[in-house]
């Protein structure tokens, strides 16, 4: 017996507008969690950091390093809040799906929002759009346009296609990893749930896979943030 996603179609009578309420709920939940954690950790900021502030500062330094790898820090400074928010958003989204399962009337409400292609593609689309926006803003139309004809003019079609493939690969990489992770977890549990022997047999791979999933969740958040900064740097930095 399969569970269904709580999908609402034709919202406000608009035929193409549909929601997966599970995703809406989880994204809201993730946002609220991040908001609470970050705001709580940055209350009472001191010159001599303690506890939570130390962690947050370590995190800021980590993202700083990530941005510093791809572009000049002077321009990169602008994208620090984006990088900080993006990494946390994706990391928490990835991890939250492993925590539990909530099913009400055959509708599955709990899961990683990043295990949905729509969500990840939306994020990727937003990133690519941002990179163009900042490319135009920081370097001007002429310099921005010139990028499409480098190193030779006939690269133009490829450069245009690249923008779309970038969006697709960025979004689908994250989606694929998280979705596959969830599928494999489900398969292992499927073995374990059939019989007692199966449960014993499945416990070891389950343990390993859970750890590995956590690892993947971190790695994918890292890759997504890193590629974001790389794409942005391609647009905002002068060609080398």
């Amino acid at each position: 017996m399969d569970t269904k996603a709580p999908i609402v179609e034709n919202v406000f009578g608009i035929s193409w507008l549909s929601f997966n309420l599970s995703n809406v709920l989880m994204i809201t939940l993730v946002s609220v969690i991040i908001l609470i954690i970050c705001i709580a950790a940055t209350r009472k900021l001191q010159m001599k950091p303690t506890g939570a502030q130390n962690v947050m500062e370590w995190y800021v330094d980590f993202i700083k390093g990530l941005i510093g790898d791809t572009m000049d820090w002077k321009t990169g400074k602008t994208f620090l809040p984006l990088g900080l928010t993006l990494f946390l958003f994706i990391l928490i989204s990835n991890v939250i799906g492993m925590v539990t399962v909530v099913v009400v009337d055959d509708y599955s409400w709990w899961g990683s929002p990043t295990a949905d292609a729509g969500v990840t593609l939306a994020l990727a689309f937003m990133i690519v759009l941002l990179s163009h926006f900042y490319g135009l803003k920081l370097r001007g139309g002429k310099e921005y346009g010139k990028k499409f004809f480098e190193p030779v003019f006939f690269m133009f079609p490829f450069k245009v296609i690249e923008e779309f493939t970038n969006t697709l690969t960025l979004g689908l990489r994250l989606f694929g990893n998280m979705f596959a992770g969830g599928m494999l977890t489900a398969l292992i549990i499927g073995i374990g749930a059939k019989s007692i022997g199966g449960a014993v047999l499945a416990s070891v791979p389950m343990l390993i896979w859970s750890g590995y999933s956590l690892f993947i969740a971190g790695i994918q958040a890292f890759i997504f943030t890193m590629l974001t900064m790389l794409y942005i740097s391609h647009k905002v930095e002068a060609s080398h």
Binding site: M1, D2, T3, K4, A5, I7, V8, V11, W16, L17, S18, F19, N20, N23, V24, I27, T28, S31, I34, L35, C38, I39, A41, T42, L45, Q46, M47, Q53, M56, E57, V60, L80, P81, L82, L84, T85, F89, V101, S108, G111, P113, A115, D116, A117, G118, V119, L121, A122, L123, F125, M126, F179, G182, M183, T185, A186, L187, I189, G190, A193
Partner: protein, 174 residues
């Protein structure tokens, strides 16, 4: 019977939900704005402030170290100068003392010489006086003796002899 695996396969994959996409982007932007205002902004500000503070502190430390070095150099130079001055004063005092000593000795010597000379002069004087006195005495005594002798007997021969001797003596005296 429900299996966990059944729950996990979800309704997934099928179709992109446009609503989700809009919702994701909008919520992400709201989250970004809120975090930037309430978390990242203050945090980055604090970190920058600390960087500035540490930089200032290092500069201050370097400055005070340099100042201390100069002060110590000055103190050393001053100490050396003071020592030299002290040495000079001691040397001067020593020289003055030597000179004073020499002067005192010279004066003493002069005084001694003067006293000695005075004493010698006195002695000479006394001696001459004594000789004079003695000679006077001798003269009167000899006259006395002579008169005694003459009283007794005196020959012409003797008289002549006597006179000659006197004359001779007188001549020698001259």
């Amino acid at each position: 019977m429900h299996f966990y695996s059944d729950f996990l396969t979800l309704g997934a994959v099928g179709g992109l939900r446009t609503g989700d996409m809009f919702f994701t982007i909008i919520l992400f932007i709201i989250l970004l704005a809120l975090l930037k205002k309430f978390a990242w902004g203050p945090l980055m500000e604090t970190m920058e402030k600390r960087e500035e503070y540490v930089k200032n502190e290092i500069e201050m430390a370097e400055k005070s170290r340099r100042e201390a070095e100069t002060a110590s150099k000055e103190a050393k130079a001053q100490l050396r100068q003071t020592k030299e001055e002290a040495q000079k004063i001691i040397d001067e005092a020593r020289n003055t003392a030597k000179q004073e000593e020499q002067k005192i000795i010279d004066i003493a010597r002069q005084e001694a010489t003067r006293l000695k000379e005075a004493a010698e002069a006195d002695i000479q004087n006394e001696k001459e006086k004594a000789i004079q006195a003695l000679q006077d005495q001798v003269a009167s005594l000899s006259v006395l003796i002579a008169s005694k002798v003459i009283e007794k007997e005196i020959s012409a021969q003797d008289q002549e002899k006597l006179i000659n001797e006197y004359i001779k003596e007188v001549g020698e005296e001259r």
